[in-house]
Symmetry: C2
Subunit: 312 residues, 2 copies
Amino acid sequence: MIQQLIGKIQKMNAPIVVGLDPMLEYIPEYIKQAAYEEKGETLAGAAEAIWQFNKGIVDATYDLIPAVKPQIAMYEQFGIEGLIAYKRTVDYCKEKGLVVIGDIKRGDIGSTSAAYAVGHLGKVKIGNNSYYGFDEDFATVNPYLGSDGIKPFIEVCKEEKKGLFILVKTSNPSSGEFQDKLVEGRPLYELVGEKVAEWGSEHMSEDYSYIGAVVGATYPEMGKVLRKLMPKSYILVPGYGAQGGKAEDLIHYFNKDGLGAIVNSSRGIIAAYKAKGYEKFGESAYADASRQAVIDMKEDIQSALVKSGVVR
Amino acid sequence: MIQQLIGKIQKMNAPIVVGLDPMLEYIPEYIKQAAYEEKGETLAGAAEAIWQFNKGIVDATYDLIPAVKPQIAMYEQFGIEGLIAYKRTVDYCKEKGLVVIGDIKRGDIGSTSAAYAVGHLGKVKIGNNSYYGFDEDFATVNPYLGSDGIKPFIEVCKEEKKGLFILVKTSNPSSGEFQDKLVEGRPLYELVGEKVAEWGSEHMSEDYSYIGAVVGATYPEMGKVLRKLMPKSYILVPGYGAQGGKAEDLIHYFNKDGLGAIVNSSRGIIAAYKAKGYEKFGESAYADASRQAVIDMKEDIQSALVKSGVVR
């Protein structure tokens, strides 16, 4: 799957991923009204609105982007109905040929992580049959529990040819509270990064491993160090745009081959029609605004990479 | 909710919680067969088997225990159908008067943690209405992202009078890989414990805070230190029984008032009929075996507490 992701990034010249993190406030009124008329102002109505909103964005952008990253929390907040919309979104994106990174940040003790891995990336055995639960292509995972919380995910990835992005340094303001603590003079995130590099080197596809890392765009100096520490790991970079990460900060996350990083934008793409510079689209053309925001993001990153000499 | 939990623990003389972590291999054949006959060897069939299995255990034990702790991963592995069984289990346990600790180990950046908090502990607003998604009483959360990943959970707990157990030192063998790393001479889990104590002291119920911690029974010496570090926090203690934690190790997790800890057992209770000493029950009386295992666990812990002088 990492090869497929890399192939699509190269073909589309787009090291980007669209975060499908729908909040009700991002969704145009006419979509919500139609959904509520059909299913009421209920969990099912909200889930329908989310699904219609997502479908519009996917239809308008899938030919420009290699991947999407739905954030499961934004669906889970609507209970079962929300999770049905999550699954529907995952399935639809895969039908459209997109690589799906499930932003689930799961992680537990061994046997429990195995259950999460099976549910999100693998197949669960029931009697003589086996079934995919959610069937994303990649998942994000939390490393706080150590190796035995991660290895069951790796096992499933190996079997299913899927992949992981392990949280190393997250994009949020308080990420340093524990992640930056110095352990023998080096920040904890570097130790986690070393582990990712170790797991990665043991689980290679071609030039890259299918065990990647999450490093926030909001900490470019740390990104530079982590890039060198995990040379074979793809880095999923959240925090571009709305969270404050700039294109010129992102060049450090790439290798000299022009690969090695994929940058996420959520609000900046899916709620583009509400943002400065995109007013002309209006609510009814929200998906066209998203398409334009994807084009702008591609150009922004591409020009930073060219300017810095990472790519020509 | 922490007061309600403490009240029930005192009334029942049972600082214990039953982990409802059903694996298909734990479920008696006759339950699986009935479920598969009705719904096929499908995700829905597995979910039905899990639900019937859980219901049997809850019916046989609810008068002896204050709380249950369903591990959501064990349901999530069966996709949407599994999560419907999770929700059904949560609702049923609440109907039976049990406190429900959702073992979800979520945690993300602020806005995303807020969505998880709303989905599991609070209400989500849809138009003029608001709805509970999963509606557990407590949730476990992962601290790797720092304060701004935790605070949205605390906010919802404050509003809803619910509570948290934050991962401090987990019970698994590799938990030390990052959690034990020394930061200025002290292990990371102590720093996390200090944060829990700080959040706890700001969010008190009566004698205890509604912000608790998870500390594994498998590390009793660390439990002793953490008990002192977080005097006002309830400690949820996994790892007793099947994972290797013994009753005499658990006394360190309690305060001198005989309170402050609640010990989880999952496999040891729910799959008791498969364990040594409970063979006489047989598969068809699996729920009676679970009841006996609860009685034995209560006595085991009670006698260790008496022996050590924690309670008389």
